[in-house]
Point group: C2
């Protein structure tokens, strides 16, 4: 049972290695694959383009024929044809000849460049060219876009709209994808009630499990929510035991007080599971539990809504993505200028909620909040990072902001 010293992704990937979950593959139509993760290296099945293509509307030429051409001394060429965009030219270009070619058109044999339409003047069968072109100018040679065998979509890459466009272009209508993990989410807490109930004083409706459930769904996981679990060892044991049999990952939210956290840890261990991390030195998000139960992932998220949200974004989501087969990229941080001073504790990586404002440059304005507040989850637009070695930041300093 480790208390992780410093939150960074390498630590998280080391932790991931201990979790015996294996990605599962499935064949998918590319038109149903948005948001999934590609499970194979997709290679180009042929040279693209197969023949040299024009990038512009203009005239296919032999570049040496227009060497030194200028407005004052244009090169005069004979136009020997007009190429349609979907046609293979059946003629050859000889010295002093040119042919009209549209964007995407295939170059005739003999031509090695295209002069843009803007730089010619047509008169009858003749074309005056006012500008020289280098060999291959305005041309995509065979295989320059993709060469036969090039890996064009990598295993582990997320299937974005552009990937789907590319696969469609290649005629790859099916793709191996990683099957989204089944994730079970439930809230714990005697004080938590369902959203359709009217809480008594001292009770609160569940926010956390719905936030996390929806974050998971948004990223393509097959997430289901269970009923609220009372703070009793036997109830928690029963729920995680059953969920671990039916899901790839079991997530409990809540348990912000130390007593309940201990109960969750005990439940995992009494069900034969292992707790790998009992907390992270990040704030908010510290009391996050990572464990294994019946060879499935167990994650216990904090009960404070902001803590739960940050922890789900910084720990749960990257961990699940990684285990499911995604090549998770380092999180990108925005640079912004700090509006007001912030203070922080040494040894803790702190994420301070901020709003973002544009006034010539990007400003980060810390949002006053207490960790128990629900509304700040929505009020903030990003999280300012205060590194563990830093005691605080001054107004005007350039800081890093995470968008979750």
């Amino acid at each position: 049972m480790a208390f992780l010293n410093l939150f960074d992704q390498r630590k998280l990937w080391e932790l991931a290695k201990k979790i015996p979950l294996e990605p599962v593959l499935e064949q998918k139509s590319i038109f149903d694959a948005l948001g999934l993760v590609c499970a194979e290296d997709v290679v180009a099945p042929e040279d693209v383009p197969p023949k040299a293509r024009s990038e512009v509307d203009g005239y296919a030429v032999r570049s040496r024929d227009v060497k030194g051409a200028s407005v004052e001394r244009p090169s005069l060429l004979t136009c020997v044809g007009s190429i349609a965009v979907d046609e293979v030219p059946q003629f050859e270009l000889n010295a002093g000849e040119c042919a009209y070619i549209p964007t995407g058109g295939i170059l005739p044999t003999g031509a090695d460049a295209v002069v843009m339409i803007e730089f010619v003047e047509e008169s009858g069968n003749y074309v005056e060219v006012f500008k020289p072109v280098a060999p291959l100018e305005n041309v995509i040679p065979p295989g320059e876009d993709m060469a036969l065998g090039d890996v064009v979509v990598k295993r582990g890459q997320r299937i974005t709209p552009q990937v789907i466009g590319l696969l469609s272009y290649l005629g790859r209508l099916q793709v191996q994808a990683f099957k989204p993990f089944r994730v079970f989410v439930a809230a714990t807490g005697n004080e938590i009630v369902e959203p359709n109930q009217v809480p008594r004083l001292g009770q609160y409706r569940d926010a956390n499990s719905f936030t996390v459930l929806t974050m998971l769904k948004e990223k393509g996981f097959d997430a289901q929510r269970g009923a609220i679990v009372p703070d009793e060892l036997s109830s928690i044991r029963e729920v995680i035991n059953k969920a671990a049999q039916n899901y790839d990952a079991v997530v409990l939210t809540g348990g912000s007080s130390a007593g309940i956290r201990d109960l969750v840890v005990r439940a995992v261990e009494e069900e034969g599971g292992t707790v790998l991390a009992h907390g992270f030195t990040i704030k908010p998000g510290k009391p996050t539990i990572i464990g294994i139960i019946k060879d499935k992932l167990f994650v216990g998220l904090p009960g404070h809504p902001m803590s739960c949200f940050v922890s789900a974004g910084l720990i749960l989501m990257p961990l699940l993505k990684k285990l499911q087969g995604e090549d998770v990229k380092p999180t990108l941080l925005l640079k912004a200028r700090l509006r007001t001073a912030v203070f922080s504790r040494i040894g803790v990586e702190e994420w301070i909620p901020v709003r973002l404002r544009y006034e010539e440059e990007l400003w980060a304005e810390p949002v006053f909040t207490k960790s128990g507040m629900v509304s700040s989850m929505v009020r903030n637009e990003g999280f300012l990072r205060v590194p563990p070695e830093c005691e605080g930041l001054e107004p005007g300093e350039v800081v890093e902001v995470l968008l979750l």
Copy 2:
């Protein structure tokens, strides 16, 4: 028919004002509302919390009783009770008294602060406190999270997982949302074939309409794709006429060559539509057409895959979001350091595809590409912005990168 001078969002919003599309509202369950846009100002129906709550595990105290407390000179208090998290304390705290309180617990009358469990020592009925607390320390007073009537989710705000969590917390199970626009997408071009066809030399499978279709679906639009449209005035007229009767927006991709673009413009006008913008001074993305047909939005996107993608991301998507009712935020640009020099033309806002690398800081590495290449749509990780007034950028300069 205007040729827009400079691409910025204000220009786009001015254009949006001329398009007579009106947002439509619908009532949605919050659990089906992810990715939709909120169409009402949601207000807090009561003070949250309704009574002062503790943010931590500890002891509820009267702050003046622990004034000056230290490890050397602890304050000694009598513990008069233990508050359960879901209970309203039935007793009052008098001078010199304290009570155990868990995170989220309601403060007893008389208490005005909470001392964290770390700073006390319990012995029998007595508690030694080693640290003073200020009034309201570790406490959320009534209404501090949300006060009755506070707008907590704004009209025009996108419904994120956190918004769903918050609405659940408030017991707001239904919400007014903007109904996603129905968007029709089709590719034009005699040389374009369906992805399940084997192209002859000179033909190419459709990438663009699938990229755009999936971008739209990803953002929650109700998008449908039509068959490929031949480059003939009558075919284009027929397709856009029919689509404008059944959809809120009609998008055609393709027409990268000037001739086809003119055909599309003519088709819109001959069907009684108006072309509002015939091009933008951005690169790639220049030959983008914006128009109105039968009071619906018409957008003609360029045929080069990269152009089409950038234009869809920078023009089509923000325009549709705005018209549908979303309060569209300015696009966030990342700061990165440029790896190699880039050159650009004055007067054009150029977006250069880059890969991003981390080496202590974020580096942007321009991707060599020609506009006709399909693979670069997937190879790039962002777009470096070269402002219209700039002729080029030097290696090492700090530049702005767009993530589409």
